[in-house]
């Protein structure tokens, strides 16, 4: 059976409207002690006949917009990208920041009832607070909500029985309520575990700097070794650089092999920005980025 998604993308490539489609593919892989595992993984499609590999289901957790700023993808004159509401927010920021042009992109918006996180987490944490189950910006809309809802209901049950591991809101509230000393200690405990694999940075659609400040050596702002001083500088710096930009797609936390609560820090920054400047990132393509819209009357109470 050919799905609407496959038909639309076939057309895009066949009519040479785009030369590349960033999408989700389903693969099977051999594992021990059980049947083959069906996994979803990003797939780059350039030929119409390959579009039959595209799928959209509740395991499509990746935010593909991270590839948009890569050299290989930029070499294409126009690309189409499969994106959920949360992913479209980061596309929005990339457009605001002049990293990509809206007209060079066809957004295949996906109506979404929530996706399943990997690492045995029953549900991606970002989905709990998602307001964009139907995307806010798109060129083509693919709706497979029904099929998804059914599965997620099952998942939801599993969540209850499993007593969901670390839901992000709970982690956030816990950290928010701590007194400064405890919070600092919590940060030290967590960030001392970071091994500086940079999966969080590499997977982040908004960490697109050609040369990250952590890789700069003249001067070397941030120590490279995975010890507390450098780790703290790295993560605090990263949180600063993502303030007013992070769209809470949760990819950094999903990618982190040490399971550090990375989104918590970014969420806090987002909350502050929202309270003080009534700004939420990734909602409009024609809005000035937060840091590009300084006004004299802006609140500065955070400067102590």
């Amino acid at each position: 059976m050919i799905t609407l998604l496959q038909a639309k993308t076939w057309e895009l490539l066949q009519q040479k409207e785009v030369s590349l489609i960033l999408g989700y593919g389903e693969f099977s892989r051999k594992i021990n002690n059980g049947p083959e595992q069906r996994i979803i993984s990003p797939i780059f499609i350039t030929k119409p006949e390959e579009t039959s590999s595209l799928v959209w289901n509740d395991r499509c957790v990746f935010n593909l917009s991270t590839y948009l700023t890569g050299k290989e993808v930029k070499a294409h004159h126009k690309v189409a990208i499969m994106a959920k509401g949360c992913d479209i927010k980061s596309i929005c920021v990339l457009i605001q920041e002049n990293q990509i042009k809206r007209e060079d992109l066809i957004i295949i918006g996906l109506t979404c009832q929530g996706v399943i996180g990997d690492k045995e987490r029953p549900k991606a944490e970002k989905c709990d607070s998602c307001q964009l189950k139907t995307p806010h910006i798109y060129d083509i809309l693919i709706d497979s909500a029904e099929a998804q809802t059914k599965k997620l209901n099952q998942v939801e049950k599993k969540v209850e029985s499993k007593n969901c591991v670390n839901p992000v809101q709970e982690k956030f509230d816990r950290m928010d309520k701590m007194n400064p000393q405890d919070r600092w200690q919590y940060c030290l405990d967590q960030f001392s575990k970071c091994i500086r694999c940079y999966a969080c940075r590499q997977v982040c659609p908004l960490c697109y700097c050609e040369k990250c400040i952590t890789d700069k050596s003249t001067p070397q702002w941030i120590e490279k070794s995975p010890l507390l001083p450098g780790n703290l500088s790295f993560h605090i710096m990263r949180a600063f650089h993502l303030t007013g930009r992070c769209v809470d797609c949760g990819e950094c936390e999903r990618a982190c092999p040490m399971n550090l609560p990375l989104t918590t820090l970014n969420k806090k920054m987002a909350q502050v920005v929202k309270d003080m400047y009534h700004y939420e990132s990734g909602l409009k393509t024609d809005e000035e980025p937060l840091f590009g819209s300084f006004q004299l009357e802006d609140e500065e109470s955070f400067i102590k």
Partner: protein, 353 residues
């Protein structure tokens, strides 16, 4: 020599050695399992499979101090680092990670001995553990490693019943340890059913045999430095350090001067060796030149290094089949998929010949 130890006695034994040795064992925090120095037996988390993080960090740490320096009035004073070389016991390393030590040994002990590494190897007693059940992602049997191989271990534990371990005394060091603590052990009696019974999963795993042939892979790599599969497979690779940092055999590092404190005209600091990865863009970047400018080239380097260059140089491969890179890659790149494809391609190209 084979003995028995009950779980209770193992607990007593570990509690006792904790008073005179550093003990490192598998634990689980934040839902990630890894090896850690423990202070009480209860911290240990016995799992059926390999911890997420490999034990290589106890021989080759994410950050090692190489030496300290101090500058005063144009005088440089160099000092040995304050690395601690206390006697250690590492508990629960499995055969694949033990085999990985062979690879690190070749690099750090041969042709310019790395003193820090060799001291850490020498002061450590390795109480390994054989595998009763393969992990989901394991493929040790495809790279010639047996899940009950005791190489590099001093003692090997095999759990034969819920609360009973078979203990194989492997090395001289292990024998010394055993004779010192012999009261905790009891005699094994093969006639009494004290032989490990393979789980059904393990039988299936071993019966399935190798998923690919390392020799074929190696030969194909000889011919196919340029091939479309590299860019195909690596297109989605985001260039992080996950597959290499978690790999028990990856050993590339960077050297950096850190912790520098300046006071007037004097300063002091430490030179460190830090894990690095061929997946990173800066790994080979030079002022005017970048030999591996794209991610597919960096990905190819990783596969080539493990299945060709290392074999060419040391006559052994640099993958032990622990499966960590498969399970942790944030975008689902699977080394088995890569190797199976290469295996098929090599078969095809031979077929054509």
């Amino acid at each position: 020599m084979t003995k028995l130890i009950s779980r209770d006695n193992l607990k007593k034994l570990i509690s006792k050695v904790l008073t005179s040795f550093q003990v490192i064992a598998p634990v689980n925090e934040n839902n990630v399992s890894f090896f850690k120095r423990i202070s009480v037996y209860e911290q240990i988390k016995w799992e059926d499979n390999n911890p997420t993080k490999s034990p290589k960090e106890f021989f080759f740490a994410p950050s090692d101090d190489l030496f300290r320096y101090q500058m005063k009035n144009k005088n440089i004073l160099l000092r040995e680092p304050s690395n601690h070389h206390d006697q250690r016991i590492i508990l629960g390393i499995r055969p694949c990670d033990m085999a990985a030590l062979n690879i690190l040994d070749r690099v750090f002990l041969e042709d310019g001995k790395d003193l820090l590494y060799s001291a850490l190897r020498d002061n450590t007693l390795l109480i390994g553990q054989s595998c009763r059940t393969p992990g989901k992602y394991c493929f040790c049997s495809s790279v010639g490693i047996n899940p009950d191989d005791s190489q590099n271990m001093d003692l090997m534990l095999t759990d034969i019943e819920k609360n009973l371990f078979l203990v194989k005394v492997v090395s001289e060091k292990g024998e010394k340890f055993f004779s010192h603590f012999s009261s905790f052990f009891q005699e094994a009696d093969a006639t009494n059913g004290h032989t490990p019974v393979q789980t059904k999963e393990m039988v299936d795993y071993l019966k399935r045999g190798a998923l690919f042939n390392v020799q074929n892979i190696n030969e194909w790599l000889n011919e196919n430095f340029e091939h479309p599969i590299w860019s195909e497979i690596a297109a989605k690779c985001i260039g992080c350090g996950v597959c290499t940092f978690f790999c028990p055999t990856c050993h590339c590092f960077d050297i950096s001067d850190e912790n520098v404190v300046y006071r007037d005209s004097s300063f002091q600091g430490v030179r460190r060796r830090i894990w690095d990865s061929c997946s990173f863009d800066h790994f080979t970047k030079m002022p005017m030149h970048q030999p591996r400018p794209t991610q597919d080239r960096r990905f190819r380097q990783r596969i080539m290094h493990k299945f060709k260059y290392f074999i060419d140089r040391f006559q052994q491969g640099a993958c032990v089949g622990c499966g960590r890179c498969r399970s942790l890659c944030p975008v689902g790149i699977d080394i088995i998929e890569v190797l199976e494809r290469i295996h098929c391609l090599s078969y095809q190209s031979h077929g054509v010949k």
